[in-house]
């Protein structure tokens, strides 16, 4: 009885169902979609949706509570008469033009220095990297205290060194020094990160090149200039693209160090987006400013794509 029953049961349960090709395809698509769904749904609702909304909103008037009205190109024309926008645009470009090459040089220098055989090399690398992961709010407040124009240790030291009190830099509190302060802070905070990328690039350079340079009697400086720098070309390109995009988006450190001031001396694009949206509740115009930021980042990305393809 038992045997007979098993005989009867097994084939039905185990016999593979003959699925048509279409059914099989459908099933594998369903499986694949079930893998993607948890992430994609979140991505669709919270990233893709808002992005499309942002493009539409740039051509609307909206204060966030009343009805949305179509604005055509109003927001676009307003960019040209908005003094704050023009200032923010230039400040962003100035910030980028100074901080990108400066950070690049510092991180390359650090990488070359810490690529040599040193005792405690890993400790030094970690120390350089730490500002990058340290919480911004904490380091910004300590930075502002150290660079406090009246009492901070930096100005005290400068005073001791004989700088006339009238000529002491006002750092974050003065129109002419605020941008310098913000840039210095940015370099200090991020150069460890790019140093690590450069270190990876340095390790990819074939030692034979240096041996060949040694045979030719090159000194350290020549080896750096004629072997290291050209060999690091792709890394430098990558780092400069990333730095440029980061600089276009700069906001947190400015909010925390200077709040865009004094006056508008450190007002940057994202700060303007933030102000127009969450202070003035002019969501349409704020999206138009954000669109400018997007176009700037897009330009850099397209240039990067073109250039890397040519290689």
């Amino acid at each position: 009885m038992v045997v007979a029953r098993e005989d009867f049961d097994i084939p039905v349960a185990v016999r593979p169902k003959r699925l048509t090709k279409r059914q099989r395809q459908r099933r594998s698509t369903l499986v694949a979609l079930s893998f993607i769904a948890p992430n994609f749904l979140g991505f669709l609702i919270f990233t893709l949706g808002p992005i499309l909304f942002a493009f539409a909103l740039a051509f609307m008037h909206w204060d966030g509570s009343n009805a949305i009205t179509f604005a055509g190109l109003d927001n676009f024309w307003r960019l040209f008469s908005d003094r704050s926008f023009i200032t923010a645009f230039w400040n962003t470009l100035i910030y980028t033009a100074v901080s990108v090459p400066a950070t690049l040089c510092c991180s390359l220098g650090l990488a070359v220095l810490l690529n040599q055989k040193l005792k405690g090399r890993n400790f030094f690398r970690a120390a350089m990297f730490f500002p990058y992961v340290a919480s911004l709010v904490a380091v910004a407040v300590v930075w502002n205290m150290i660079f406090n124009p009246e009492m901070g240790p930096v100005n005290m030291l400068l005073y001791e060194l004989g700088v006339d009190p009238k000529n002491l830099p006002g750092w974050a509190a003065s129109n002419s020094w605020a941008m310098v302060t913000v840039i210095l802070f940015g370099i200090w905070k991020s150069m460890g990160y790019y140093m690590v990328i450069y270190l990876a690039g340095l390790q990819g350079i074939s030692p034979e090149l240096y041996e060949a340079a040694d045979l030719d009697g090159a000194n350290g400086w020549q080896k750096f200039w004629y072997v290291t720098v050209p060999q690091l070309g792709p890394t430098t390109f990558f780092v400069s693209v990333m730095l440029t995009i980061q600089s276009f988006k700069v906001f947190d450190q400015i909010m925390l160090l200077t709040e865009g001031g004094p006056g508008t001396s450190t007002l940057v694009l994202v700060y303007h987006v933030y102000n127009e949206a969450f202070i003035s509740w002019d969501l349409g115009y704020s999206s138009m400013v954000a669109l400018v930021l997007f176009l700037m980042v897009l330009t850099v990305t397209v240039v990067q794509f073109r250039l890397t393809r040519e290689d």
Partner: protein
Amino acid sequence: MVKKPLTLFGQKIRLKTIALYVLVIAITVVMLMPFVWMLSASLKLDRDVFAFPIEWIPSHPRWQNYVDIWTKIPLALFIYNTTKLTVIVTLLQLFTSSFAAYAFAKLRFAYREVLFLAYIATIAMPWQVYMVPQFVEMRALGLNNTHLALICLQAFTAFGVFLMRQFYMSIPDELCEAARIDGMNEYQIWFRIMLPLSKPALSTLTIFTFVSTWNDFLGPLIYLTKTELKTVQIGIRMFITQYSTEYGLIMAASMVSLVPVLIVFLALQRFFVEGIASSGLKG
């Protein structure tokens, strides 16, 4: 005759090495100076913080600062909030990213390229461009002033999917094929084969997500206005604006906010460096 140039040569090398160490140590000191100053100031009375010349090791360390910060502001609550957010976001990010990445790397299905293109197209899109409409949307969903808003905001990034997919692409397809022949289904292959193999990529993603969630400033600034919901970053920011002259306390609170990141960083430092070196991209 032979010895002389050798010793000279040896001496020259030694000088160079000394110079190198001096330079490296000097740069390290400058880089770490703000943290040392912070630690030193956190143990001082407010009026002593700016005393010059700087007293690096306070003669009467004021440990009271580290007691007062817990009562002056709900720092423990802030840390709890941030920890909760960070853990949830990191877990969600790891799970959904590696899950989706498996399909993009190892499964064939209709519209795979189109869907992946949607991710790629947004990877270079700065969050700042769409933060305003995103806020409006969250508000419409009733998520303003909730932690859920920040979780939704950070847990489903294109970056995570991209990073994991790149890693899975480097795992040979034959491994999956063999597992399929052995009768594993796709979920089992993901869980038993892909996840254990992708530890390096997972730890890279963990570190990036942990640091960016813990240190996020603009997100919580926009979404959280109720004190009891605030994270460490904006909580300390609030404290700084309220008690702007209580330097000792501000420094103590800042020190405390650095500790979790410092611990994670020291524990996973090796992965940090390897992770960045291998992936190199985080916007």
